[in-house]
Symmetry: C2
Subunit: 424 residues, 2 copies
Amino acid sequence: MTSSEQTPTPSAFPEPDRIEGGAPGDRPRLVREQGVTSPLGFRAAGIAAGIKASGAPDLALVFNEGPDHSAAGVFTRNQVKAAPVLWSQQVLTTGRLRAVILNSGGANACTGPGGFQDTHKTAEAVAEALSNWGTETGAVEVAVCSTGLIGDRLPMDKVLAGVTEIVHEMAGGLSGGTDAAHAIMTTDTKPKQAALHHPQGWNVGGMGKGAGMMAPSLATMLVVLTTDAAATPEQLDTALRRATARTFDRLDIDGCISTNDTVLLLSSGASQIPVEQADLDEAVFAVCDDLAAQMQADAEGVTKRIRITVAGARTEDDAVAVARWVARDSLVKTALFGSDPNWGRVLAAVGASPVRIDPDLLSVSFNGSPVCENGCGVAGAREVDLAGPDVDVVVDLKLGDASASVRTTDLSHAYVEENSAYSS
Amino acid sequence: MTSSEQTPTPSAFPEPDRIEGGAPGDRPRLVREQGVTSPLGFRAAGIAAGIKASGAPDLALVFNEGPDHSAAGVFTRNQVKAAPVLWSQQVLTTGRLRAVILNSGGANACTGPGGFQDTHKTAEAVAEALSNWGTETGAVEVAVCSTGLIGDRLPMDKVLAGVTEIVHEMAGGLSGGTDAAHAIMTTDTKPKQAALHHPQGWNVGGMGKGAGMMAPSLATMLVVLTTDAAATPEQLDTALRRATARTFDRLDIDGCISTNDTVLLLSSGASQIPVEQADLDEAVFAVCDDLAAQMQADAEGVTKRIRITVAGARTEDDAVAVARWVARDSLVKTALFGSDPNWGRVLAAVGASPVRIDPDLLSVSFNGSPVCENGCGVAGAREVDLAGPDVDVVVDLKLGDASASVRTTDLSHAYVEENSAYSS
C-alpha cells in the first residue's frame, strides 16, 4: 500500500496561477472569493430545505434583477437527460432567464413524466414566489438544475416549501453567492467560485459543482455564470460555447457522461457597458477555466492533477481525441496514482485511439523529462520522479501543428471506495 | 471498507457450466485439464529461462509435427504493435507455421528496430535448434509472442540460451502443454487451458494468458490453439475470426488495448480427418469461449464476473457497442464492486454510448430482477441482492431483434493496487 501512503490529500494542492497581473484596473483580475453575485444586478441564496437527509444546504437560487435578462446554456450530450435538463433546454429557447433554481440531493433523472411535472411545478413555484416578492415572473423565465442520485423522485413538499423560503433569503453582496455555491455541493469537498473584474468596468462571476461536463463524471456538473455586461443572448451563447468547448469539455475525470450537466450564463446588463465579443469570450473563458481547475482539484478520489497535452496533431479535434483517450485509460491513471512513470501505457493508449498515428514518430515527456523518443524509451525514463501532486504528460505525434490539453485525475483507492458505496 | 470485506476471492468462483453433455463420443466434450498438446501431432514445453527476475517459468514452445502445417492468426488492432506482432503477422501471410515461441517477462514493444531484430533472431534460433533436432525449419515458419512490461529490450542472451534448452525439453503428452501454459503467465494467477474432443475423432486444444483482446487489458492476451483436424489455412482463418469476434473480442476488462495481443490456430492434420467448416467453427468457438471465461475469472483485481447483455438492438454491432460502453463504465464497475444495484449508472452509460437509443423505452434487470422499466425505476430496485460473485446485467433497448453480450469484471481496490505498482 506504499502507493497510497505517499499521495497528498486534495487540500495539499497549491492554488494554481491566477491570470491576473499588473495593477488593478489595468488587466482583467480573477478572484476566487466571489461568485455569481459579483456582477451587478444579481442576488442569490442557499438554504437547507431538507432534501438531503444530512440536513446540509441543498437548495440554491440565482436571481437576475435586470435591466436585461439575456441568457444562454449548454447541456449534457447524454441521450438520457434528466427532467430539469429537458425543462431548461426548452425555456432557454427564448434566450431569456430571470432566475435559476438548483437543488442537490437528487438528480430527478430517469423519473418519467412525473419527474418532469415536478420540475415544472418547481419553476412555477419560483415564478409565483418572485411575483409575490414584487418581480412579475413566469415559469418559462426560470431554469431548473438538479444533482444527486439518479432514479428517485424529489421530496416535492420540501422543495416547494424551500422555494418560498429561499426567495425571502435572497441577499445582495457576496454572502448570497457563497451560500448558493455551498448548497449545490454533492461529493464536492469545497464550494467552487470565481469572478473576473474587467478594467472596462464590467464583471463575470460563476459557481460550479462536480467534476466535468459532456464527457465527465456522474458527480454531475452544474455551473451558473453571471455578468453585468450588456450583451445579447447571441453574444452570451457564442461566448459560452467557445469557453465550455475548451474548459469543461476538456475536463474528463472518468469518461462518464452525466444525465444532468448544465452550464448557464445570465446577463443583467446592470453595468450598462456594451461588451465586445472578444472581450466577453476571454472573460467567460477565464472564469470557466478556473472553475474547471477547481473541479479537477476536488474530483472524486483525486490524489494527482494530470494534464494530458497532445501536440503535433493534424487538427485540434484529433489532438483532443487522443488526449481524451489517454485521459480515460485506467492503466495510465492507476500507474500515475502509483507515481509510476510507465510510459508504455501512454503509447498503448495513443495507439488505441481512433486517430491514425505513426507509432515510430511518437515522443512522450512526463513533467518535462523525455521518456520516449520516436516510439522507443530513453535512458532514465523509469527513474522520472512523479511523486508530486501535478503530472504533465505531453505526447508529440509529429504529424502537424495542432495541439490541445485535457485535464484529468488519477484512478485511486479513494475513487473506488467513494463510488462503490454512493447510493447505498 | 465493507464493500471489499464481503467480496469473494477469485478462487471462490465456481467452475462455469461445461458445454459437454450426453455420453462420451456422442457430442463434443470440453475439458480443462488439457491444452495445446491434446490434439495429435503437437509437442510443447515451458521452462524458466531467466527472463523473469523471479525465476518463474517464462519461455514456452508449441511445435507442430505435421503432417500439415496450416495456420491462421488474429492480432491486436492497436496501432502501436510490439515487434513480435509485426513479425508474426508477416510470417502468417504464408498460411503456414511449424512452431510458436512465447516469452513472458517482457513485451518487446516500443523497442524500435533493435527490438524487431531481437524477435527475428529468436525465430532464427528456434529454426536452427529444430533443424539440429531433426526437423528442417526456416525462421519464417516460427511465430513469436511476447508479454510483459512495454518498453524494455529482452535479455537476448537468456532468450537464446533458453531456445536451445526448450527444444530439448519438448515432450508429447499433457505435461508439455501444461508446462507451456504456466510459462506464459504474467499477472495471471492460474494457467488457462481447454481442449475439445469431437465425436468425429479430431480435437482442438488451447492455452491462453491475460485478460482479453482487441479492446482488452494490457495484461496482454496470448492464445495458441491447436487442432489435428485436416484443415486448410482458409478454413482455420474463417473459424478463428468467427470465434474470436464473439469471445475474446467481447471480453473487455478495462477498455485498454494491448500492443501484443495474438491468437494463433495451428493444424497438424494428424487425425487425417477432413473437417466441415461448421464443425470446426463450433469447436474453435467452444475452446475460445471457455478460455475467455477463464481469463474473465482471473482478471486483474476481479471480485465479480459481470455479463452485460444488450437485447432489442437494431443490429448485433449496435448491441456490442452499447454493451461495451456499459462494460467500460467506471461508475457501473465500482458500483458492482460494492454490490450496489445503482441502475441509474447503467442508464447513463447506455445514453452516453454512440448508438442512438430512446431513453423512454430502456429496461434493465440485474440477475433477472427488473430494476428499470421504460426509463424509470421499479419498486424494490434498490434492494436487489448483488452480493454473489456473478452479476448478469440485461439492458433491453426495444428497438429491434439483435442482441449480444460482453464479459467484464468489477473495478476493485485490488485492480487499482495491482496496476499502480506494475513496473516499479
